[in-house]
Symmetry: D2
Subunit: 187 residues, 4 copies
């Protein structure tokens, strides 16, 4: 029996012990699965649309509060830094290795990042990730592909996107690398 | 600059940002180091002696409370299970994959583990680990060697010991494998 | 589609390209699976019996040649060292971190290891591993449990056994930790 | 003593055994270091300039042969796939998960990739990587930052670049993720 979630694993062990099943083989598996990766991408897309919706219905402060919860749950800033290159940032603030830099990108309003208008506030209504390939290294996993996001007028923007995840001790995937870029346009 | 501890890493980033050092290269390193492994072994030995001392001076309940804190801090039971084969256990309770089984082994007093007298209550005064080899796989690390423990009368018991550690999200090493055995004695 | 074996993966990619399937999502997964761990244990057991059989029918040199192939295929000595504590070794040669030490243990005949009689030459006819628990850390995996081996007269010896595996670049599991011990016998 | 390179490790072990140093502690460390990451980036840059130079002095076939050696030594295509988004590719051939796709991007001449002119054939004379941050997850490591490359007329092109490396069984870092993009230009 394979138990991936720590809490469920503990529950199972309690049951196994209670029932005297001394020979039950327990399997703890910390490896990242394809299913977890796809779920993390889905969660990111859903969060982007939620922040847009919250902005439209409740204003920027509510959207900002939600974005903070999303960043704290989905990114790995608490691990020390995240390698985050958002789609629309420019030098010398291209790379957002700090939580403050990520938050400013998503919801704007931070004078330390004056070019940030708030990418997640643009009225996105739909978000879909399509992977070209997934590489699961064991305790980290990377994806590369397109993310298509639909704006308020129905126009679809497609970006080239790379994510790398690690799994934290609670079994949660966290983004530690996020490189997003507009497709190259030959002249 | 390499920052291994998440809290220090966050502090450094705050400083780097505050000082406007946009070009500072941040390095987050989750790999386990030899130094961390040796410190974890040292901590295990110190904890064993502390539990013995606490038992002698404050009684079994105090020793048990300390053992619980030690197990929760040093082992990985919260990850789902630990592969723990203590030195002196016998079938069908040889393997202590649950926290309750580890606690019973160290301090006894659990009717579910009737053979356990409390290994850590034996008046140990000294504990020293000597490694034959260390294998650091990246996010896990294993050691193999001897641990010599000194009893109240000065007699030294030496066991063959294997430990495997993983590093949790807080940067703490946790024992996920612990195999201890008395040296083989040819007839 | 998940492809675990590099050679098969390459074959699949060739097919995918040939068929013009530009949108096929490829998944490379280097994480160790429970199935691979159990297969590696099965292979170790089968190899032990094979060495015994080869010794009985073809003599020690043939058994030694087979043991060398087994060690080179199943252990990680080429990675630098293996943390190997065989069941029956004694100090100061308890730990066999080198290939020569492992080979001497299995088939004897090495004057540098004068106590080694050749554990694998004892006429073993059957070998079965039963796991208490498996801990898959991602790129490494550990097992703990019993291995029961049947001798020429039908007597069964049961040992407490811990193995840790890493997966090499060719997708092969390799033993990097192996701690084996006779069960503790209270006086 | 820490031994990172398998060959050196084996040599050291041979010495340790020969000298009868039974108590020597051997450390095998498979974790990726910052130094190895920086060296891999340096090697990539040097290879790019070498391919350009070879093209200028010996022609495309020689440059192609060199590029094949570089790809086989520095990328992880033999692991199953690489998540490679080159700077200048366009849909539907944006992502180059196969070796053939990478080779075509670097040296052109492959009718299956008709838009590829050969990025490495552009007379690059200098290449320098500057990291914003490095994230070492243990058995994988990622970098994010800029790579500045100097063309034949002295003009410098700067790209935003993410690399993820894994270490193979021979101790060699291999690129498994490579996302390169031109900086975003606001209208």
């Amino acid at each position: 029996m394979t138990i991936r979630h720590p809490i469920l694993a503990a529950a199972f062990l309690a049951l196994a012990t209670a029932s005297g099943s001394a020979s039950a083989q327990t399997v703890v598996n910390q490896a990242i699965t394809e299913r977890e990766v796809v779920a993390a991408q889905r969660a990111w897309c859903d969060a982007l649309v939620s922040i847009s919706t919250t902005h439209a219905t409740q204003g920027q402060p509510a959207a900002k509060a939600l974005a903070e919860r999303v960043i704290d749950a989905a990114y790995g800033y608490q691990l020390g830094a995240v390698l985050f290159k958002p789609t629309l940032t420019v030098a010398p603030q291209t790379f957002r290795t700090t939580r403050a830099g990520a938050l400013a990108y998503f919801v704007g309003g931070d004078p330390a990042f004056p070019n940030d208008k708030g990418f997640a506030l643009s009225g996105w209504t739909k978000c879909e990730a399509t992977n070209s390939a997934i590489f699961i290294a064991g305790t980290s996993a990377s994806t590369m592909g397109n993310v298509a996001i639909t704006g308020p007028n129905g126009a679809v923007t497609t970006v080239d996107k790379t994510w790398t995840y690690v799994k934290d001790s609670a079994g949660q995937l966290r983004i530690v690398v996020h490189h997003s870029s507009l497709p190259y346009r030959p002249n």
